[in-house]
Symmetry: C3
Subunit: 210 residues, 3 copies
């Protein structure tokens, strides 16, 4: 029991750092915030998904507020982004890749934590998806933009896919580091390939797109 | 005990489908989202109020995530709206009526669930109101609009009124299908008449309206 | 145990009234809402921080929904602001001072409630900060503005500072009315001095501010 928990913790902290960097860079680029604003948006992006997950699971106070490693990782990520921001802020690629990385890791850890707490496989996949998109959605709402999860078809889908691979492996008795990496890799690959090749999902018929 | 629960479930699923259609049509009209965006906004509109209610009541994981009927109804509603969207998206009336229907049903079920979990009548009315306006408020925040609950005086008021009728009937020992329909009908009638006849609540004195 | 609880309740109700007035005045000024909109935004500003705090602490249903004194205070505050709005709505100073007052009181009461429920000192400081900025952040998101907590460096910092003073005094065995007032006063002074003298925290290097 403690082995998968340790693995989840490691992946969760990695996802936290990716989202903290991403949120802080978003703050620098989209809203021109000062140091505290950058750190705050980084922390909300990094910790928001896990907080939503834990509140929905009834696992309160949320791990991300109880365990100081999360807060340290989120703060360090924000500081790094702030320090390097004048070089990175105009580059769209690192923001995008860090977001995809956070998405992938949180899809796996969210689904894993839901399984650990006794939810069924279907609900665990859903919780994984919510954990993955939660932090970025809070980030977008706070900088007054329509969230990526609504604008980009291939955002929720890879998250649910990654969570499904993780849950499938766990249910089949093949859980562990290898399948967690495979699940996160699936989400990451689908998300990045979707962005790279501009894969669009169908829009409404009879309405011109914009 | 299981009889009122069954009634609440039926009304809850009806409200879920109304809000799913409404949220998906809003996505088509306001934000021109793709299939996943439409389904996601439909699901958040449909399930958001119930999730907020269950989190505030400590009934986690929320019923809408645990019970697959909710998710199926929300998804089917979103798909129907997507398929018919080119005919419906420019019509304001179905969006408005579906929103009023979801509002009415969730006011009753939110208040009923709060009573079932042992809250007092006053708190149950308040919880009913929050359940009713919760999904639509999340919908509006996500498409970056000031929520209806703030802009339209006759939105929170009919919801609280419907919840009060439902709670009053239950407290008076006259709970059941008939009083639930009466309570939802009261909310629906007040909301739709308010919209139809443009009833406005008083605005601030000395400030020109806009 | 009941003595500190009573003190917390008093400060909490004072903070609630300050935020209710502030939220209602914001509604009058920023969004020109009608009576129900003004009362609703006042109530969300006033009760939002405490609701977020209680949900994160697992203390549900939240005190602000269970205890009618909160709702009465929030409603009366909103009504007062509505009645006096034509005189106050164009004045930025009362809005700012009431916001700083609510921030200060909620930082202290949020941290105090977290300590009472058994959280460690660090987490209590964090919870105090979240309680303090929660209501105003919901207010800003609902009127579609980037929240103060992101735009103004000296908003989260004084809240965390006030919470730290309160937690420090409690841990040192010097808790009580005097130290609670000192903690709230510290937050209030830092916030208002920061605004008065336009203290800005460092912005990102190499990017022109706006």
């Amino acid at each position: 029991m403690s082995q998968p928990s340790l693995l989840l913790l490691g992946l969760d902290l990695l996802g936290t750092s990716a989202f903290a960097l991403n949120g802080a860079l978003t703050a620098l680029r989209a809203a021109r915030l000062d140091l505290v604003g950058v750190l705050t948006l980084g922390a909300i992006t990094a910790l928001g998904g896990g907080i939503v997950r834990d509140v929905l699971l009834g696992a309160v106070p949320p791990a991300t507020l109880q365990d100081w490693r999360y807060l340290v990782v989120a703060t360090v990520g924000g500081l790094l982004a702030f320090a390097a921001g004048h070089r990175l802020a105009r580059l769209a690629t690192p923001i995008l890749v860090l977001d995809a990385l956070g998405l992938s890791l949180f899809a796996v850890t969210g689904a894993g934590k839901a399984l650990e707490l006794g939810l069924g496989p279907g609900q665990a996949v859903l919780l994984g998806g919510i954990t993955a998109v939660g932090g970025g959605t809070l980030r977008d709402v706070l900088v007054a933009q329509v969230p990526t999860v609504l604008r980009s078809g291939l955002y929720a889908v890879p998250a649910l896919l990654g969570a499904a691979v993780a849950v499938g492996a766990e249910v089949a008795g093949a859980g562990g580091a290898a399948s967690a990496v495979l699940a996160a890799g699936t989400c990451l690959a689908v998300r990045l390939l979707g962005v790279r090749y501009g894969v669009d999902l169908p829009g409404p018929r009879g309405l011109p797109g914009d």
